[in-house]
């Protein structure tokens, strides 16, 4: 959990920084105190841990390190490994599917094998790719928790884990889509995929019009994280510069 949220060692570093900040910015606080009668930090720092799960995470991490089960470096490396998985990986997969119909067929038939072909192993869970078409738009949610194709796309955005998104996506999907700027005609079927079990879903957005001449790399730049979750479409290409 700590690795997945990227908040491991920061918690430790933070408690050391606190006193330092206070000394460094003390004069600023004094000015503010004079003006307002009480002091505010110029900019709020990271929140101190306050929730049970945060204390549990810190306690577990410190115990694992103290008992030599894991080292701080191993934990930091794991966090780094997760941080290096980004939506860019997924964008490469989508761009390949757009330019290579055989690859797209393989991706739809066996997502795990197809992304592994491009150097992105996806293990332990089924990766299911679903294709958006002019008739059907897919949108992924996990109402139970925050299931997401992390092995390919990295850590999900905060809103994906919010109660608001999780409860509203299944009940009023078009209202949620509209808040992402995605308005679909009534004759398009919106299919919400509730990722409830051992499968992870990757949406293949529709290839934007006017992209016939683009390279695979330029196409990948049009594939956003949200378009692979299905809350948005892929970006339209920039108009070609007139030489």
């Amino acid at each position: 959990m700590s690795g997945a949220d990227g908040r491991g060692p920061q918690g430790l570093a933070h408690s050391h920084d606190h006193g330092h900040d206070r000394r460094e910015h003390g004069h600023r606080h004094d000015h503010e105190a004079a003006a307002h009668g009480h002091s505010h930090p110029f900019q709020p720092d990271l929140q101190e841990p306050s929730q049970d799960w945060e204390f549990l995470e810190i306690a577990l991490r410190e115990l694992l390190i103290e008992k030599g089960v894991l080292s701080a470096r191993e934990i930091a490396e794991k966090i780094d490994q997760w941080d290096r998985r980004t939506p860019q990986n997924g964008a490469e997969v989508i761009a390949r599917a757009w330019v290579d119909p055989d690859y797209k067929a393989r991706l739809l038939a066996d997502g795990n094998a197809a992304v592994a072909e491009l150097g992105y192993p996806f293990e332990g869970l089924e990766l299911i790719a679903v294709e958006n078409t002019p008739q059907r738009h897919h949108m992924v949610v996990c109402t139970l928790c925050s299931c997401y194709p992390r092995q390919l796309l990295g850590i999900p955005p905060l809103w994906y884990k919010s109660r608001a998104y999780r409860s509203r996506a299944v009940r009023e999907p078009r209202a949620v889509l509209a808040e992402f700027g995605t308005v679909l005609p009534e004759d398009v079927e919106v299919r919400v995929l509730d990722s409830t079990a051992d499968c992870r879903y990757l949406v293949i957005p529709m290839r934007p019009a006017g992209t016939e001449g683009l390279s695979e790399a330029d196409l990948a730049a049009l594939v956003t994280r949200d378009s692979m979750i299905g809350t948005a479409q892929a970006r339209a290409p920039h108009p070609a510069p007139t030489a």
Partner: protein
Amino acid sequence: MRAADLPDARFRVGDRVRVRAAYPPGHIRTPFYLRGRTGRVIGVHGAFPNPERLAWGEDGLPPIPLYEVVFAMAAVWQGDGAYGARDSLAADIYEHWLEEAAT
């Protein structure tokens, strides 16, 4: 395990199924809002260890077939939601949560 390896699966693609209206305690991966709702099997993902047993630290074996079931939004929310007439919702449901539905 792939769908082709599941000769014993109770349901097939196209079958109408109803999610059991059961409310047991514990770690359940069948969303509350789908209990008692009727849909159609559109895929068989394979068989997976039972998460309800894994949650207790058990091995969850034998694996249970997992189906992709699609529901009309109208069948799920019965008016208590905002959706288009064609909109749908698909979820992955383990076999022991499904029963045959009248066609």
